[in-house]
């Protein structure tokens, strides 16, 4: 248990300790590939030593003793009394142990007893014949669970809390704005305006904070590839590109699990033994490529290998037997059966399980609104392409009545709500603009746009939406309520209409179309050919 006096520094300790363990992992990985690189070895030593010191200060005895044992092994390495090949695995194991210990400490539990792990390190130094053992008891349970990304440097729950608060604020603001229209007090108006601007800014910033570079999940793969390949006596290089691309953290965990599964599959089933590969004229070392790119709306992630590819015939036979496809199915339809539970693995090992795995991957990707495709060439390799939408899966929207229909407008694109009288807009050519601040902004009459029945009223609610600095007024019939909804991607037919960016699943189970504000700007501008400028 930690000395109470230092408890208050625990968070700082946890962050720093994790950083040290990460560095120890990456230094050793690098040093293994480049044994001549003294700098990496030096870094490894330093991180271990520093971690020992800070753990000791917090009285985390197990952690600090384990670091000491690692240091002894590193000393022996430096003095050339022992070879890297003999100790690398044990060292990685002890880093994993430290991560588990750290997790226990984070959860306010007791430290994990490190005696067994320390003993295994000590025995290396006595150059005892070290045999592949069953990882027993305490070690086993800590070495198997993959770590879910829980926090970066900010606790995720706090971020979620912040996000919720900012959305509540947005809703309050909309209510205030409705009142403001009713009360017509210039001071109140100004105050609500200012408040609105601050809230918008804050929400934007919070959304930025929620973004996580995809590199965070890519980070754990080099170790995993190394360990898996070693266990199966295969040689595999992992190439990673595009780690800087950012995704909302709500997508990260599911995506991480799916990618992990695909990479494991590639090593277990796609990649051949080194001798096999050479026989086929390939490089002894296989390559798995993990590439992330982004377009405006999506993240595109590719996992490809240069292994033996999928066995089209075997899949086809199984699929026909299970009545998933007919005998006239196309090549792509056959390949897609791997997402439907078909597996052609010759042995079922515990490493990545059965073919069910890929159908779960597809489910996970679907659930975050993305999709996954496979390409494969026998003898050459397999490639999976994932497309992940970058929008949040759950947003707050404002429901509005247009004609007899209900549509949803994403709240984070709403600048403000106004009411204008028929008189005010009659004067603007063909109801195409409304007064706004010192000038005017274009107005789009949604009922007209969607060819819905509408009537002339004495006043109309206007939803002013924004895109960057631009503003556009949307004339609707009635403002309804605000609500948090789950966004579902559109089916192909509706997608072609372009005015809608998705559909919202509401409480009753009904679907309401979400307006694509960006596209409305294009339409709005088209109507604004008389030269109305967009006021800010």
């Amino acid at each position: 248990m930690a000395d109470n006096y230092f408890e208050k520094h625990k968070d700082v300790f946890l962050n720093e300790a994790k950083a040290h363990i990460d560095r120890m992992n990456s230094s050793l990985l690098g040093f293994e590939k480049n044994p001549a690189d003294d700098k990496l070895f030096h870094e490894l030593f330093r991180s271990t030593h520093t971690l020992k010191g800070i753990a000791a200060t917090m009285n985390y005895v197990e952690m600090s003793q384990l670091c000491h044992a690692v240091e002894d092994v590193l000393e022996a390495l430096r003095g050339k009394r022992i070879g890297l090949a003999n100790v690398a695995d044990r060292l990685f194991e002890s880093f994993d142990f430290m991560s588990s210990d750290l997790k226990a400490i984070t959860g306010d539990d007791q430290e994990i007893n490190a005696a067994q792990m320390i003993d295994r390190l000590d025995r290396l130094l006595k150059s005892e014949e070290w045999k592949e053992e069953e990882e027993s008891g305490v070690l086993a349970q800590h070495l198997q669970k993959p770590e879910k990304l829980k926090s970066i440097e900010v606790n995720i729950e706090r971020l979620d809390g912040l996000m919720k608060i900012s959305e509540e604020l947005l809703i309050s603001r909309i209510k205030l704005e409705l009142l403001r229209e009713a009360i017509n007090n210039p001071e109140l108006t100004a105050a609500v305006d200012t408040l609105g601007r601050h809230i918008t800014n804050m929400q934007y910033n919070i959304m930025q904070v929620r973004l996580v570079p995809i590199g965070f999940i890519f980070n754990r793969f080099p170790r995993m590839v190394r360990d898996l390949a070693k266990r199966q006596n295969k040689q595999v290089d992992l190439e990673i590109e595009g780690g800087a691309i950012e995704l909302d953290r709500s997508l990260i965990d599911d995506l991480g699990e799916s990618l992990m599964h695909l990479i494991r599959n590639a090593i277990d089933h796609g990649i051949e033994d080194p001798e096999e590969r050479v026989k086929h004229g390939k490089n002894k070392t296989a390559t798995i490529r993990l590439i992330a790119k982004r377009t405006k709306e999506h993240a595109l992630i590719e996992v490809s290998d240069d292994g033996e590819g999928l066995d089209l015939e075997a899949i086809q036979n199984m699929a026909i037997k299970q009545k998933l496809i007919s005998s006239g199915a196309s090549r792509q339809e056959i390949l897609n059966c791997i997402f439907r539970g078909i597996s052609t693995t010759k042995d079922v090992s515990d490493i990545s399980g059965r073919g069910m795995g890929l159908s779960i991957v597809k489910q996970q990707i679907d659930s975050i609104g993305g999709n996954i495709q496979v390409e494969s060439e026998e003898g050459r390799g397999t490639r999976f392409r994932l497309t992940i939408p970058l929008t949040l899966a759950v947003i707050n929207v404002l429901f509005v009545n247009v004609g007899e229909q209900i549509y949803a407008i994403p709240i984070n694109q709403i600048d403000r709500l106004l009411t204008v009288t028929d008189e005010e807009i009659k004067g603007m050519i063909d109801y195409n603009a409304i007064p706004y601040g010192d000038s005017s902004i274009p107005l789009t009459h949604l009922a007209e746009l969607f060819l819905l029945p509408t009537e002339r009223l004495s006043s109309y609610p206007i939803v002013v939406v924004r895109r960057g600095e631009e503003r556009l007024g949307l004339l609707v019939d009635r403002l309804l309520s605000t609500q948090e909804v789950v966004i579902k991607p559109l089916t192909r037919i509706v997608r072609e209409s372009k005015y809608f960016s998705g559909s919202a699943l509401i409480g009753s189970g009904d679907m309401v179309l979400i307006l694509d504000v960006d596209h409305l700007f294009l339409t709005g501008r088209f109507k604004n050919e008389w030269g109305y400028t967009n006021a800010v």
Partner: protein
């Protein structure tokens, strides 16, 4: 008020020491540095009467001992206490020869740290 400079590349260590030093009587002004560059900046700006220096500090170019040498060269009047882990007797001896006043071992005993610090500032 006496000024103390904490030199350690671990943010955790610095915050722990800063916390301990807040118990000094009379109170001291605490400053921090984490690599050679910030050490030089702080020495010039703050002119501390006492420095707590981590022996194994290393910014890939300079080590604790190098920093000790530089402090003693440029600011001979400044007292230096070394912070060390267990089992670094040889390095500690070298540091004392180079002019360090004494050393404090990790894990820190709060009262021992305050003792040494107050003695040095007396």
């Amino acid at each position: 008020m006496n000024k103390v400079l904490i030199i350690d590349d671990s943010g955790f260590m610095r915050s722990v020491l800063k916390d301990i030093l807040s118990g000094c009587t009379p109170p001291v002004e605490v400053h921090e540095a984490h690599n050679m560059e910030t050490v030089r900046q702080q020495l010039k700006k703050v002119q501390p009467s006492l420095v707590l220096l981590d022996i194994v500090m290393d910014d890939n170019e300079h080590e604790g001992v190098d920093i000790l040498k530089e402090i003693k060269d440029l600011y001979p009047g400044t007292k230096v206490i070394m912070l060390s882990s267990v089992g670094q007797v040889a390095v500690i001896e070298e540091c004392i020869k180079l002019g360090a006043v004494c050393y404090i071992e990790k894990p820190f005993d709060k009262s021992k740290v305050l003792d040494q610090v107050n003695k040095c500032l007396a």
